[in-house]
Amino acid sequence: MSQTIATIGFGVIATIILLFALLVLWKIYNEEIDISGLLAETPPPGVPPEETKASLSRFQFLVFTFVIAGLFLLLSIEAGTFVEVPQNVLVLLGISGGSYVISKTVGPSQRKDDASTKSKTARPSQRKDEGSTKHE
């Protein structure tokens, strides 16, 4: 009896997981889930994501994730059990992920610095303009 319940439970969970996976794929295919900015760099303020260039670190992270996840899935299915992931492989993923995070933080902070220096240089002239309009 308990064996039957376990089998039914396993079947139900497997169906739910597969349906969920299928739904995600279907929504991506129908463009309800938008992946057009998957490789795009974080856009500067006022620029739409479609107009930014691709990010090398994002691309690298995507390729590493897919290859290692694919190998893990494939070898686990072939071996009939979960394969162990050595520390070196985690380091490999960590290098790629770390590069992505650093690249993501460096980009926007530099843009903010650029924007603040631009606004500082623009302020004196703006103040003059404001002053002249007040006198008028």
């Binding site: 089998t7 090398l56 059990t81 380091v91 290098i95 460096v106």
Partner: protein, 109 residues
């Protein structure tokens, strides 16, 4: 019966992964996902930056050699099955190229 469900789940997950990769690949080929500018520092630059070109040359070598090793490993050895180790030389190569890439990104501003 559980073995049959497991087989279906295995096939489903593998197909899902393959379809997802195919979908992203097709979108990239169709131009819906932009991959231009991978070797440029900023949008509108005309020259390729060397550190990006180096990273772009090295990381496929690392990942292809690792995938080749993993796909040719013997799964019938006694004991728990594990993914193959990444050689130190490949790790250092990737670390060096990514370090250069980040240094270039920071230095160029």
């Amino acid at each position: 019966m559980p073995a049959f469900i497991a087989k279906v789940l295995e096939a489903g997950l593998l197909s899902w992964m393959a379809l997802l990769i195919l979908l992203i690949g097709l979108r990239i080929l169709r131009g819906d996902i932009r991959v231009d500018g991978l070797l440029l520092h900023k949008e509108g630059d005309t020259s390729v930056t060397p550190e990006r070109a180096l990273t772009m040359a090295i990381f496929p070598v690392v990942i292809i050699s690792y995938a080749y090793t993993a796909l040719n490993m013997n799964l019938e050895v006694p004991g728990p099955v594990r993914l193959p180790d990444v050689p130190e030389s490949l790790l250092n190569l990737l670390l060096g190229s990514n370090g250069l890439y980040l240094a270039g990104k920071i230095a160029r501003g």
